[in-house]
Amino acid sequence: MVLLPHTYQSAEYAPRLAVRLGASYIASVSSATLDPCGGLHFSRAILQARLRAEVRPKRRLVVATVQIGAFGGHEPVESPERVFEVGRPADVERHREREILGREAAGAGGVDLPGAERIVTAGRGVGGPDEVSVAADLASALDAELGASRPVVDNGWLPREHQVGSSGHIVAPNLYVALGVSGSIQHLMGMSGSRVIVAVNRDPEAPIFSVAHYGIVADLHDVAPALTRLLEARRSG
């Protein structure tokens, strides 16, 4: 078995490695079990984390990538049994067909999500660019930074620097309030380490509820303004 982390670097080449080795390929697994006959079974999220699938490799060799954060960190063993040092094999030509020209920042700054004590995140459920204010108002009443899920950024409702998730910012604030966020696996990876997680969503089956400490099954357009009003009344009172 070859295990790799499911990062944007390794998950790009891992399937090619599986083809070259004639191995089975299973991506972004969150757990693995070994049955008494020595067979491996992997669990992974499918259909945008709405369901889970148990998958078995059919080939003797398997290449799998592991979802970041799927396993708690273990204390390092004192000395690994064997560590191989591998140099670049002499027969590997430097590839010219794919050349890295450089790196650049994906968006402008001005939003400090990783350093925030509290974050209120707008999800697709806010409904549109003019309705993001419902999340912004609650953020301001909570003295929180404003976050966004990927669909909100992709639709242009908020700039990319607000994005929480594996392709945006990984955050772990004291309080995380998700408004109308369904909770894709990438989003959950980016915020599930928060100390207190609140989710407001009309859909009781939304995956965000699987990580929420407090879940409100209701329309965020009713609940968020009510929260904002209460917080503002307290502040002025």
Partner: protein
């Protein structure tokens, strides 16, 4: 120039998902089927590249769309034709069905090789299985350079290479140059997929859609026989983290109750 676009038809993730009696797949009797969202962005990117070449006074590239799946997939291919693709190839043969990313990638690679594409675009990952593997498998089998999570594509004037921006973690992008032909897996959200016009829908009826059986490929490498994995069961995710659920009360009552909890948690 010819651009191939691979699309996958997937269950609409907003539709209610039920697990089939077998416990190994979802019940597909009552599902809405749509083109996977990243694949729509890949098709849109191909259309934008074609339009950019026309506006530079160059010949419009031919856009060929490919999809593997049962008869229902024809609807997705017709939609792609309505959006502006020139012709469609349906990998409909029974022997090609039931595969995983390795098997599907092998069948698609064979069909793409037959079409002699200069550039292959796909979505970065499907909305259903989301392994992000099929485009990489296609690139490996065709021996082509590959980039995943592509955020921008520019073709150079002689169309020998592409300048590609790809997404990394933590708000960074990587800028690459890839020789053509190449396989590019397009990230969601890099463009706004257009809607099909009535005119496009009518024109699509007259555009060629042909079935490809991949007869040149070893039958043991495609379909269920060529799959490297087997799905043993599909289940609902484990219920919540034991969290407190507030429902069935007014918004004001829910807000009051939540704030009381948050004060106790010292989260305010």
């Amino acid at each position: 120039m010819r651009i191939g676009v691979c699309i996958k038809q997937v269950p609409d993730t907003d539709s209610h998902l039920r697990i089939a009696d077998s416990g190994r797949e979802i019940d597909d009797s009552d599902l809405n089927w749509v083109i996977s969202s990243c694949d729509l962005c890949a098709l849109e990117e191909a259309l934008l590249l074609a339009e950019a070449q026309v506006s530079r006074g160059e010949e419009r590239p031919e856009l060929v769309v490919f999809s593997l799946g049962p008869a229902r997939v024809e609807e997705a291919l017709r939609k792609a034709l309505a959006l502006g693709a020139d012709r469609a190839v349906h990998l409909a043969d029974e022997a090609l069905q039931g595969g995983d990313a390795l098997a599907d990638g092998r069948a698609l690679a064979a069909a793409l090789a037959g079409a002699n594409c200069d550039l292959v675009l796909t979505g970065a990952q499907s909305d259903d299985l989301g392994q992000a593997a099929t485009p990489a498998v296609i690139a490996e089998i065709l021996g082509l350079p590959y980039a995943w999570l592509v955020m921008a594509v520019e073709l150079d004037a002689p169309r020998q290479s592409a300048r590609v921006v790809r997404e990394l973690e933590g708000g960074m992008n990587e800028v690459l140059r890839l020789d053509l032909p190449a396989v590019l897996a397009i990230q969601a959200g890099i463009n706004k997929p257009r809607f099909a016009s009535l005119r496009g829908t009518l024109q699509a009826r007259g555009k060629p859609l042909h079935r490809e059986d991949c007869s040149g490929v070893d039958a043991g490498l495609v379909g269920a026989a060529g799959a490297g994995t087997e799905t043993e069961s599909v289940t609902l995710p484990p219920a919540g983290a034991g969290g407190v659920v507030i429902e069935g009360v007014s918004a004001e009552a829910a807000a009051e109750e939540l704030l009381a909890h948050l004060e106790r948690e010292a989260a305010l």
